[in-house]
């Protein structure tokens, strides 16, 4: 594979000494996106901290990560050096695409980071608060157009959950899907839609500049004084988390070794400084606690996607 060859040449040129575990991380997304950035940040931290000598990132984009996931599960079985990045978006994509390969077919290691969604309106919007939005939504759900990422993704799921929580039929949500947060941001700024919903990082600088007004955060904690949804009386809490997983059919010892490596990386200074620069929130969780959380997320996502009508 060309990319691998190039990556090998590039990293070879940097003359990195060989360490015990040489990991290959699959980013099941195109270069530049969130998963790709996560994979490349893990690569950076693992090598900088000397946990692994040679880490390579491969991109297999498509269909909310399910194409990469399917390839990873079938081709890397039993390979203790293979890792894959994934996240909440993948949970939804597996369901909407009726993917034959699910997260049960790989070995989740740890949840690493999370990002809260934020609901915004243009600065000149008549909607001043979440209460105004809820009132408008209750009066005529179709009149509120929501701009966010692809259908069935975390943005869409949160819009559906908000509608459901305030007693509006989630199938009536007028959700306009854009490819990537950038286009959605343009639509909100240009006043093409009523509200925008996307990751906080996408809208952060516009909120700071006063171009957008933030109504609520979807996560557990306030951010820059923006209230959470539950504080505004809408009982919804969702974080868009990202995780790292290993191949299926690895031994318990191998799983433990990978978990130890990842834990060491997640506690390292390099990783902390990457989180700082990228504005990612540390949501490290591993072992049984992560497995329980994952199961709960899959269950609630299945319910809401059925409510919205995207999954039968």
């Amino acid at each position: 594979m060309n990319k691998l060859l190039l990556a090998a040449l590039v990293s070879g040129a940097m003359a990195v000494p060989a360490f015990a575990a040489d990991y290959t991380i699959m980013a099941p997304a195109a270069p530049g996106g969130g998963w790709d950035q996560t994979a490349r940040s893990i690569q950076e931290a693992l090598t900088a901290e000397g946990i692994s000598g040679n880490v390579q990132v491969t991109n297999v984009p498509g269909a909310g990560g399910t194409i990469g996931l399917a390839q990873f599960a079938t081709q890397e079985s039993g390979n203790a050096n293979a890792l894959i990045v994934g996240g909440y978006v993948m949970v939804g994509a597996i369901l909407t695409n009726a993917s034959p390969v699910t997260l049960d077919n790989i070995t989740p290691i740890a949840r690493l980071i999370g990002e809260s969604d934020v609901i915004v309106v243009p600065a000149n919007s008549e909607l001043q608060s979440m209460d105004d939005l809820v009132a408008k939504l209750k009066a005529d759900p179709g009149s509120v157009s929501w701009a966010g990422g692809s259908a069935g993704g975390v943005d869409h799921i949160i819009a559906g959950l908000v509608a459901k929580a305030v007693g509006v039929d989630p199938t009536k949500v007028n959700y306009i899907a854009y490819s990537g947060g950038g286009e959605a941001l343009a639509a909100v700024l240009g006043g093409q839609v009523t509200v925008g919903i996307s990751g906080y990082g996408e809208f952060e600088s516009q909120i700071a500049a006063g171009e957008l007004r933030a109504l609520a955060m979807s996560g557990e904690n306030q951010m820059d004084g923006i209230p959470t949804l539950s504080e505004t009386g809408v009982d919804v809490t969702v974080e868009n988390w990202r995780m790292i997983a290993a191949a299926p059919d690895i031994t318990d010892e191998q799983k433990a070794a990978i978990t130890a490596d990842i834990k060491k990386m997640a506690e390292s200074a390099t990783w902390k400084s990457i989180l700082e620069t990228k504005g990612w929130v540390d949501m490290y969780l591993d072992g049984d606690a992560f497995d329980t959380q994952l199961a709960a997320d899959i269950e609630s996502t299945t319910t809401v996607l059925k409510d919205i009508g995207l999954v039968q």
């Binding site: 590039v10 270069p31 530049g32 399910t66 399917a70 869409h156 286009e183 941001l185």
Partner: protein, 515 residues
């Protein structure tokens, strides 16, 4: 400091000798990776970005700019010489550029592409420095209905510019539109025409289709033709450099291409390739040498290449002023900026003025470095065509296959336990389609254009109608959309009117077959 002072300071940073070396390395690396068909600038930059992390911010930015421009130019080189576009934005370049190369005019074609890119990059970067905030405001006021009107205009002008038979052109366009429907529908998340094949969920990759139709299709035509090796490719005929006549015909095309490409690049949902379509259509309309179109008209290379580069600079405007990454390459740049704690957005120009202007200066320096590096190399590149034909086509097949495998080569297909690359099978399948189309005289470019414009226009139309809750009047609600429809109507009616008045010769010549 005022804009000029800041730009001068940016240049002072970019022009230090070690930075020039970084620019040189970047351009060389970028060109080397970019010539592989199927590997466009986005992937090139993503692959090489980690190399730049080790440098200081200024050095890193300038090397990055070099890689970016090198990658783009590398794509044009293979388009022109081997008829294998590396990315969607250089598909149009292949149309005329490859015809020129076959007639021994590969040198001027490469030169006009390089100089045109430089001129467009220069004008567009300067324009960006001065009108960015103002132009971006207009660009984001484009709503879904306006985009749809723009797409209608693109369909009308583009289909008028290809092929001598409207029926054949439209048939080819509809094949492309049909292929564009395949994959997960963005608005509903449901798979369409994927037949349960996971590789089809994300739709047909534009570069796979383009490389297949152009490169593989052509190879098959040559292989199938009786005595096909008679029609010799002339590597060099006349001057390897551009003649006076070439200059005279190129420069207005460069300027028009820049004018078309820049604003389209600034639009959040524009895309570089749409600018190249418009530019090609415009050059074909305005040329004084319509008989050459389809047989290697230099304007047809100069205009779209300038449009492509101007549009790339235009892309930076929403990125720097709004933090809006509108292309894959821009998204990767965003990741690059974050390495230095830069947060693109409305406050970037105030908070990090120095780095932003260093970046703008770096782009200009890298653009210039590309010219310095590549003009002397043109002689070497065109020697490629002196390779005996069977070897040349074998080489084209090899590179087309390698590029496809490199960009998307997962061995994901499985038939009776036999693993294969699905993308490669699609490449071969579409190659046969390309052969059949050529064999029966159908133009192939509209197929690719249909695949690009079809999904874009569909999404915009559905967004417009969803926001208006089904009221079709929203489509003609804004003055912008109405003006675009008027231009589209004029583009259809004016030639008809001329033809009726007996001035049809010009336009029937204009419609010479592209093959």
């Amino acid at each position: 400091m005022d804009t000029f002072g800041l730009l001068a300071a940016g240049f002072a940073a970019a022009l230090q000798w070690q930075n020039l070396i970084y620019a040189f390395i970047g351009v060389t690396l970028g060109t080397a990776v970019g010539v592989l068909p199927g590997i466009g600038p986005a992937l090139t930059v993503a692959l090489l970005l980690p190399v730049t992390y080790r440098l200081d911010p200024a050095g890193s930015l300038i090397m990055f700019a070099g890689i970016y421009y090198g990658g783009m130019y590398g794509g044009s080189t293979t388009s022109i010489l081997l008829n294998t576009p590396g990315e969607s934005a250089s598909i149009v370049t292949a149309l005329e550029g490859n015809k020129m190369a076959r007639k021994g005019r590969g040198g001027p074609a490469l030169a006009t592409a390089a100089i045109g890119s430089f001129v467009a990059g220069l004008i567009a970067t300067l324009a960006m420095a001065f009108v960015a905030p103002w132009l971006v405001r207009i660009a984001i006021s484009f709503g879904p209905a306006d985009y749809f009107a723009l797409m209608v205009l693109a369909f009308v002008t583009v289909s008028a510019a290809f092929g001598d038979s409207a029926l054949r052109g439209v048939t080819a366009l509809f094949i492309g539109l049909g292929l564009g429907v395949i994959g997960i529908d963005l608005q509903t998340g449901q798979a369409r025409l994927a037949f349960g094949i996971p590789d089809l969920l994300d739709g047909i990759e534009v570069t796979t289709l383009a490389v297949a139709l152009f490169a593989i299709g052509e190879t098959l035509v040559v292989a199938a033709a009786r005595g096909g090796l008679d029609d010799d490719i002339v590597a060099v005929k006349g001057s390897i450099w551009m003649t006076m006549e070439d200059w005279k015909r190129s420069w207005p095309a460069w300027l028009r291409g820049t004018l078309i490409g820049f604003p389209i690049g600034a639009m959040p949902a524009g895309g570089a390739e749409i600018g190249t379509f418009f530019s090609y259509a415009a050059e074909r309309r305005l040329t004084k040498h319509p008989e050459e179109f389809g047989h290697g008209a230099i304007e047809g290379v100069a205009g779209p290449e300038a449009a492509n580069n101007a549009s790339a600079a235009g892309t930076l405007m929403p990125l720097l002023t709004l933090g809006l990454p509108t292309t894959a390459t821009a998204a990767i740049m965003l990741a690059g900026f974050q390495q230095f704690g830069l947060q693109p957005g409305p406050l970037l120009f105030t908070n990090n003025a120095q780095l932003v202007w260093a970046l703008i200066a770096s782009l200009l320096v890298a653009n210039f470095m590309l010219l310095v590096l590549n003009l002397p190399l043109i002689g070497v590149w065109v020697r490629l065509l002196t390779v005996p034909k069977p070897w040349l086509y074998a080489g084209i097949l090899l590179f087309a296959t390698l590029g496809t495998l490199g960009a998307n080569g997962a061995m994901s297909g499985n038939l009776f336990g036999l693993r294969f690359s699905f993308e490669l099978m699609m490449l071969l399948g579409f190659g046969i389609l390309g052969y059949v189309l050529r064999r029966f005289g159908y133009p192939i470019a509209p197929v690719v254009i249909g695949l690009i414009l079809g999904p874009l226009s569909e999404q915009q139309l559905r967004r417009a109608l969803a926001i208006s809750q089904g009221d079709p009047m929203v489509l003609v609600h804004s003055p912008l959309a109405i003006s675009l429809y008027v231009i589209a109507a004029a583009a259809v009616l004016v030639p008809l009117w001329f033809r009726l008045r007996g001035k049809g010769q010009v336009f029937s010549q204009l419609a010479a077959d592209e093959d």
